[in-house]
């Protein structure tokens, strides 16, 4: 099995989907010969040509609009938004046009919006955001946020073959940091299935995307202190795998929700509420949310490091929970 980075696995997923289905094509700013600012589509133009790998003007609304329209007409477009931060200039197309379309018309829109998301690269307030919570509130959009190369490819293939709009948020910090064995053929990881990245018995930690690694780091350290952290990686936020979360919580009765987006208004609140609504009798301690501070994302290293929840905060939270 070839060894692939997270970014390579995404590229391999795109290639696999395009080879299998003539209806799949790519569009976005600088995605053709250049291969996109993170090089994810590199080489695909050479293999598939200008018809199937299209550079677009700097027009996020028009890009998302093309994806919507082409999917209505039966294609399976995969559009790259250069940074997830820039979805905001095409926001209305996604939330006003795409999200309610099937509800209103019965017509399904099988398109995918891919975008590098998340921070940690010292590139500040405009190139680091994690915007998933915005879309979470709109019925009609699916949201996938993979954390590993294997997942990235399998979830991407599932997303491309899904009948509905999927926002596929890739963590840019993982693109070239992570490598693992990834099958070179086609496979799908169904949307809406979380995975337990590390089993544990004392505390459940629910997270997704790059925060999985902070959670695992904390878990390893906590183990040395005799605290067993179960790390649940959601993989997709919509659909949400409530069963896996509830199952873990039924065992631990203690939970931390961890995300990179600002705490206020993030999806942490939803997960706390889920546990509170559906597993109240298991609650042995307050559920702790860890999210970013309520500021824009800063550039200076000390500021950015302080901005995100840290491994140490996770450890402290877990300790507080077991001592509760």
């Amino acid at each position: 099995m070839p060894n692939m980075s997270y970014g390579e696995a995404i590229r391999d997923g795109l290639r696999t989907a395009m080879r299998a289905d003539e209806n799949v094509y790519l569009l976005g700013e600088d995605v053709a010969q250049f291969g996109g600012v993170y090089g994810i589509t590199k080489g695909l133009y050479d293999e598939f040509g200008a018809r199937r790998v299209k550079n677009t003007p700097l027009s996020e609304a028009a890009i998302i609009g093309e994806a919507i329209g082409a999917s209505i007409a039966g294609l399976r477009p995969v559009a790259e938004i250069q940074f997830s931060d820039f979805i905001t200039t095409g926001f209305s197309q996604l939330v006003d046009v795409a999200a309610p379309y099937t509800f209103r018309s019965g017509t399904h829109l099988p398109f995918v919006i891919r975008a590098p998301s998340g921070g940690g690269l010292r590139i500040g307030p405009y190139h680091s955001k994690s915007l998933e919570a915005l879309f979470f509130h709109f019925p009609g959009l699916k949201i996938v946020m993979p954390s590993t190369p294997y997942d990235a490819k399998g979830l991407l293939l599932a997303a491309i073959r899904d009948p509905d709009p999927v926002l596929f948020l890739e963590h840019k910090k993982l693109y070239y940091e992570l490598r693992e064995e990834v099958p070179s053929d086609s496979y799908e990881i169904p949307l809406g299935k979380a995975v337990v990245r590390r089993p544990g018995t004392n505390v459940t930690l629910v997270t997704y995307s790059a925060m999985v690694y902070k959670a695992l780091e904390a878990a390893a350290k906590l183990e040395q202190e005799g605290i067993s952290l179960e790390v649940v990686d959601l993989r997709s936020l919509v659909p949400l795998d409530e069963a896996t979360i509830l199952q873990s919580f039924a065992k631990t009765n203690r939970a931390i929700i961890l995300h990179e987006a600002p705490k206020r208004g993030g999806i942490g609140g939803e997960l706390v509420s889920l546990l509170c609504e559906k597993a109240f009798d298991y609650l042995a301690a307050p559920i702790i949310r860890l999210g970013a501070k309520m500021t824009p994302i800063p550039v200076a290293p000390a500021l950015e490091d302080f901005y995100y929840p840290s491994v140490d905060e996770i450890i402290q939270a877990a300790k507080r929970l077991v001592q509760y």
């Binding site: 609009g65 329209g69 007409a73």
Partner: protein, 343 residues
């Protein structure tokens, strides 16, 4: 008024044989008349119901948004399409919806928000479409249907289909950013789409000169490298001819065009709006230029339309409308649980 035709780039009208053929066929000319009258009479019915229903127990849920006095644009433009072509309608495109095959029943079901409406009562009035007939669903956010039209056009181009998209919007919508992105984008890719701008001089209460600092919005086309024309939107044959030309151009793979059709909104923004902000004289001037009247006179002069034919067309339409209203009225409303049904 300056209702002349501007050619921002050299586009050849003469070569438009397809259009000229239709304009020589009495059957087709009468069909256009039928659609004009159908639109007018259907919308009159909508207005009538709005003004006469019991507000406590309304039949029409919401307001009526009418194209009265502007039917020439929507009918003329849609008539230029062929089978397999797509429509991205705006909210004053009842004529185009009719020409492209939506039925009076569908329209009244939609206005009455019945369970069997094209949106299952989930959306109302002109927020409608029909994918099976290649009609995109209208989106309220002005201009927002145009990039979707681009997307359909991109799919047609991708497949090598020889079909085109008609993208409709208003003078107010023309100030939206998304309209700019769409037109530039369409031109870069030479997408098979024709933009039809219904310039009815108002956006709700806002007159044209508070919307833009140009008299002719077709001037925008030059900035995208596409042909742009300003034409008389109240002359259905002129609309048909120019849109047809643009449609055939798009069909040949030569890219998009912008056709600005000048007209006047002959009433309020919706049936609830008395439009007291529009000077009476404006209405009076434009009333003389009614597109249906003008077209009828032309047909009569040409001996294509007799008084008998006129009466029988009207009677046929009246019947169709009455039948549709009765049908829709007796269909069930959605019930609560329908909300969560997957479609």
């Amino acid at each position: 008024m300056g209702l002349h035709t501007i050619h921002s780039s050299p586009a050849n009208t003469a070569g438009n044989a397809a259009a000229e053929e239709v304009l020589r066929s009495p059957e087709r000319l009468l069909e256009i008349y039928y659609y004009l009258l159908l639109t007018r009479m259907l919308e009159n019915k909508v207005a009538y119901i709005c003004h006469n229903q019991n507000p406590q127990q309304p039949i029409i849920i919401g307001k009526g948004y009418l194209s009265t006095g502007q039917e020439g644009i929507s009918v003329g433009a849609a008539y230029a399409l062929e089978s397999g072509d797509w429509l991205a309608p705006s909210h004053r495109d009842m004529g185009a919806l009719m020409v492209r095959g939506m039925t009076c029943r569908q329209i009244f079901l939609q206005y009455f928000a019945r369970a069997s409406s094209p949106t299952w009562g989930r959306d109302g009035n002109v927020h409608v479409g029909d994918t099976s007939k290649q009609i995109l669903f209208f989106i309220s956010h002005m201009g927002s249907n145009l990039p979707v039209g681009n997307g359909v056009a991109a799919a047609l181009q991708y497949r090598g289909a020889k079909n085109v998209v008609l993208g409709c919007f208003g003078d107010g919508a023309s100030s939206q950013g998304v309209v700019h992105e769409t037109m530039n984008y369409a031109s870069v890719f030479k997408l098979p789409i024709v933009f039809v701008l219904n310039n009815n001089r108002y956006a709700i209460s806002t007159p044209l000169h508070e919307q833009c600092a140009v008299e002719h919005l077709a001037l925008r086309a030059a900035g995208y490298g596409m042909p742009g024309k300003t034409i008389d939107g109240n002359n259905v044959m002129e609309v048909y001819r120019h849109v047809k030309e643009a449609v055939e151009r798009a069909r040949r793979g030569e890219g998009p065009s912008l056709i600005e059709c000048k007209t006047m909104r002959m009433g309020g923004h919706g049936t609830h709006d008395p439009a007291t902000y529009i000077p009476k004289e404006e209405f009076e001037t434009w009333k003389k230029r009614d597109p249906i009247l003008g077209y009828k006179n032309y047909l009569q002069e040409q001996g294509i339309l007799t008084e008998d034919q006129e009466q029988s067309i009207k009677a046929r339409i009246e019947g169709e409308i009455e039948e549709a209203v009765e049908y829709a009225r007796t269909q069930p409303m959605p019930v609560a649980e329908d909300l969560l049904k997957e479609r």
